[in-house]
Amino acid sequence: MKVSGSDYLVLDKEKGVWVEDPEQIVRDDVEKHYWKHVGLTILKDWRLYIMLIPMILVFLFWRYFPMYELLGSFKVDDGAKAVAEQYFKGFSNFKALLIGSGTFGPYSSQFWQALRNTFLLSFYGLCFGFPMPIILALFFNEIRSNMARSVYQVLTYLPKFMSTVVMTSLVIMLVKAGSTASNTNPGIIAQLLVNLGIVPQEAAQAGLLNNPAYFRAIYQISGIWETAGYDSIVFFAAIIAISPTSYEAAQIDGANKWAQMRYVVLPSILSTIVIMLITRIGSMLSIGYEKVILLTEKQQNAVLTTAQVVSTFSWAVKADNPGIASAAEMMNNVVGMLLVIGANTIARKASNVSLY
């Protein structure tokens, strides 16, 4: 037994001598037999650990192994060497994307464009898509009849349950180009917009989705159509949690509807709004690739100047240059993760509520 070192000696005040600390001996013992202790605990509860195995494997194989594939972003294509040796060849792919020179010039300009589009789609979503659910929730709160409210809720949640394919197919069909071959007119919404004077006839005839000028608007409006109703659930729950006495107190003080909104409802749901806003900012760079690919796949390439986001950019270049594709995703995802963690930290500081 080790007795050197002051940790192990404590002063016995009654006898006035230094003796070994019994607690430290136990601690020492636990440390010495740590893995034995772990083994025994696991053995005692082995069923619990068996239950964990499928989940661990699923996440390991199909969530963590792809992250290993991301290391391909450090790879420089060199067919002569084995794949493992090609890893960690430096940052040339990143440099090619960010600065771009020579043969990498087109990649670089496309990447910056994609990054800009990703940011702008998110930003417009924040400006137009984010307030909609809050407004809807305020409206829902005014509907006193449960029956009527359920009808409104059922109808507005509905688009959320459609698949991206169905949703984008409807969008494509409703704004599709008119065809001269079969003498048909553009889709019904495109015609409506022409009649309202919002878009020119030629643009509608050529197909709104072929036109880079309209992509962002189509993306945002279809996004609001799809999610605004469903996203209002959270805000509506926050509003109905407000105690009726708050309203009564405000009414006694002579507050009209607007004053109640301003001084009762908004302060009460502010923390929910802040949390949702921060979450949204946190996921700014993760624009869903599925919707963008489906909306633009069969359209003219011109639309990609506003529609291409980072994930679809890397999807498009993956066959030509997998290293460049991985590097683009790597940068997007690392910045995205920093945003999420930053957002979560701010949310925790602001409201003592952690999102994860």
């Binding site: 605990t41 509860d45 069923r47 619990l48 239950m51 964990l52 499928p54 699923v58 996440f59 194989f61 199909w62 969530r63 192994f65 792809p66 992250m67 594939e69 991301l70 391909g72 409206f139 829902f140 005014e142 509907i143 409104y152 809720q153 059922v154 507005t156 949640y157 509905l158 349950f161 698949s163 991206t164 394919v165 169905v166 409807l170 069909m173 409703l174 071959a181 079969s182 003498n183 007119n185 469903y230 959270v234 729950a237 009209n256 509807k257 993760s286 690739y289 489906l294 994930s311 890397s314 999807w315 993956k318 991985s326 995703e329 690392v334 995205g336 999420v340 952690s354 999102l355 994860y356």
Partner: protein, 367 residues
Amino acid sequence: MKRRLEVSELIFKMISYVMLTVFALCCLYPFVYAVSASVSRKEYVEYSMIRRYEDVKEFDAEGNPVVPEDSGKAIEYIPVQKTDENGAPVVDQAGNPVYETDADGNPVTVPKLVYSERAQLILFPKEVQFDAFAWMFGQNVFWNAYSNTLFLTVYGTVWSLVVAVLGAYALSKKRLLFRKFFNFFLVFTMWFSAGIVPQYLNYIATKGVFNGMGITDDKWLVVIAMGMAAMNIILLRNTFENVPSEIEEAAIVDGASEFQVLRQVFIPMSKSTIATVALFFAVSRWNGYFWARQMISNPNEQPLQVYIRTKLDELTLSENLSAWRESYAADSVIYALIVCSIIPILVIYPFIQKYFAKGTNAGGVKE
């Protein structure tokens, strides 16, 4: 005391009703339009010109038909179809109509006013026909796609749910060693995802492994490798954590094993969350498209969503459209497919809606 409705309150209430009605109708409109367009006459769906015939009402002194001035109509002589004694049109053996002939064998014709009008389908179906549905139901590929989607939904949901419930149960136990690490292992995947290209390479590699193991049906790859979501596991874990530990201890004292505790205590006590999570899984499986399209190489194994998209791509090509000679519009086929794919969701939707609201509210999670 009955409170007087204030003016400001009344105004806000009215605005609420109006705006909600407008928004709800906007949400609904594309679906109603899809249904209408799937069953309407071809010309209405295509917004093309439709030829109409009208009986001649006026004749001049010589018995010649009179065309009303400035009506844009024209006279056309239409052969008269033969009818039997019951008034039903007569057809020959090939199914072609037989026309009346006079004594010399010349066809009998009547004058008709003919004009064109632009067909407009705004909301309600016009001249209902079910030809597009009939064509679709006659396609083997459609039924194949439908059954593939059912396969993916049923097996995928069961697999995801089993993995999630077992994992969440283990994670909910305070006595689990390295619990913090396992939680982080899960939550990290919500912060950082590899992205589509690495994911794609990974699935390709998995497919190779599966094929090497003798699993050549790619549907199993989709079932097993895809559709897991950390969020759902956390939802379940939080629910399991709220089950009172006294009940668990009582069950253990009664001699229940870990699996029995899970099956007979935790699952019955968390039924509604499990239902919510199962629905999340099921809807995402039913709607799954992108990876199924990338990974399932045999066209007969593709799910419905992929079939819809393939048909859309095929039927919006202008060379296919100019060769289109069917009695229904090409668009009607797409709309009919969309309608068929959302009917199952619409049928169960009223029942599951409250669960979704619940799941979303439970989403404010903490670690």
